[in-house]
């Protein structure tokens, strides 16, 4: 599929994932064009985070294909995947900051691993990345001393410092208060505008989806139930989609 669409940044075709006897993904087909923002929404346990991890090769599919910038990554060895992953950044749900390192060391980590040794260059790039996420002045703090919102910002700074072509966000606003969530949404949008990165955002926060999405994919029981513009999703008369948007469980007291 992706080979016929040369401009797609990321694409998956016929992706299935089975863990033990549980079918997590049931034949996902998706394409994300360069510079586009796709928001993947769905209820907890619908397979959103699993799908995201497949896009960067952190999980292997049971069957199907995954393409990054037209290159098939399924079947590659871990060491062959490493340079490809450097073009795609990922922000994890729990931030996954290295807890033994300060904010500055965390943000500088990808640069150092890419071979940058000049302390002046590293300091300047870290300062610039922290400035993008409004965290200047917190360089020497350890992750344990940061609030949830600050951790997300550090994680984002660590992702963008190497200017990846694409950024994957796993629940960027989960566990944050509405004001901090809004600032994270603005940050995602700002990164898109400033650097033109392709973004894939996994969330169940409809406000976040409405704020950042070019396209929305609604995942239900491991399959894509809806794909289209956010406005079309909101206007959909489908009961399942409306229940999700309105937050209706169907339970009665």
């Amino acid at each position: 599929m992706a080979q016929t669409v040369p401009h797609s940044m990321l694409a998956v075709a016929g992706l299935t994932k089975q863990i033990d006897d549980q079918q997590i993904l049931r034949g996902i087909d998706l394409q994300v064009a360069s510079g586009e923002t796709l928001v993947i929404i769905g209820r907890s346990g619908s397979g959103k985070s699993v799908l995201l991890k497949h896009l960067i090769g952190l999980m292997l599919p049971t069957s199907g294909e995954v393409f990054i910038e037209g290159r098939q990554i399924v079947g590659l060895k871990e060491r062959e995947l490493l340079p490809i992953r450097r073009t795609v950044g990922m922000m994890f749900q729990g931030c996954a900051l290295f807890d033994a390192m300060t904010v500055e060391e965390n943000v500088a980590f990808p640069l150092r691993e890419a071979g940058e040794r000049d302390p002046k260059v590293i300091r300047e790039k870290v300062a610039a990345a922290l400035e993008v996420v409004d965290l200047t002045g917190h360089e020497q703090k350890l992750p344990v001393n940061l609030s949830g919102g600050m951790k997300k910002r550090v994680a984002l700074a660590r992702v963008v410092i190497t200017r990846p072509h694409c950024v994957l966000y796993d629940e960027p606003t989960a566990g944050l208060d509405p004001v901090v969530s809004d600032s994270i949404n603005h940050l995602i949008r700002r990164l898109q505008k400033r650097f033109g990165v392709t973004s894939i955002v996994v969330t169940h926060d409809m406000k976040c989806a409405g704020h950042v999405a070019d396209k929305v994919a609604f995942l239900h029981e491991g399959a894509i139930y809806f794909y289209g513009a956010f406005a079309d999703l909101v206007c959909s008369q489908d009961v399942l989609i409306q229940d999700f948007i309105q937050g209706r469980s169907g339970d009665t007291d």
Partner: protein, 261 residues
Amino acid sequence: MLLLRFLGSTALSLFGYLGELLFLMLESARSLVTTPIRWRLALGQILEVGYRSQLVVIVTGAFTGAVFAAQTYFQFHRLSMDTAVGAVVAVSMFRELGPVLTGLMVAGRVGASMSAEIGTMKVTEQLDALRSLGVHPVDYLVVPRMIAMMISMPMLVAECVGIGIVTGMFVAVHLLGVSQVWYTNYMLRFTALRDLEMALTKGFVFGILIVFVACNEGLKSQEGAVGVGRATTEAVVIGSLAILIVNFFLTMVLNIFFPAG
């Protein structure tokens, strides 16, 4: 039939486990020759593994040497062989007690901390973060620890043996009244460089065993705090048992290269 099935499944899991360890060793060896070594991390680990384990190793060596000298004296005194105590203590410390006890203490202290640290990184997605940033966990976590253990363990064993011999001599000579001249004379006559070589070789092998068992347990630990706790326990138990089992076979093989006497 049930017994056969039990033996079969036990053998299968044992081979599976040995396969995991072998795979990790091969991946580390490959990393060692194909990717630049992170010396900064390795030095940090040497500080953690080697420098900070010294108190444990010194106390272990000191009291093992002391009690072994005393027990040997009590037995040998009845045969009027007091002066042979030094030789027995030194050879035993070099060939068995020093390497094995150091290995067991380090497996407890360092093995537990390595598996807990890596296990916690796994369950908090820090290992996935490493991979997403294009860094292989074996390059970043296992290889520096392996280098640190390969350098530190022989030194810790030498330290344990040295302290044990000195405290053994102190107990025998100053507390139990053995002649220092004869004690030293027999000790030097029955110990040789090959004993030290055997001690260092065992320390090196035990270091490798501890680091791969601990890292493997950490890397494969399951989700949650319970998983990390289990990985830590397994790292200590499997590491300690592996040292005791491998020690027997290693003794038989090394005795060919470094014969006793």
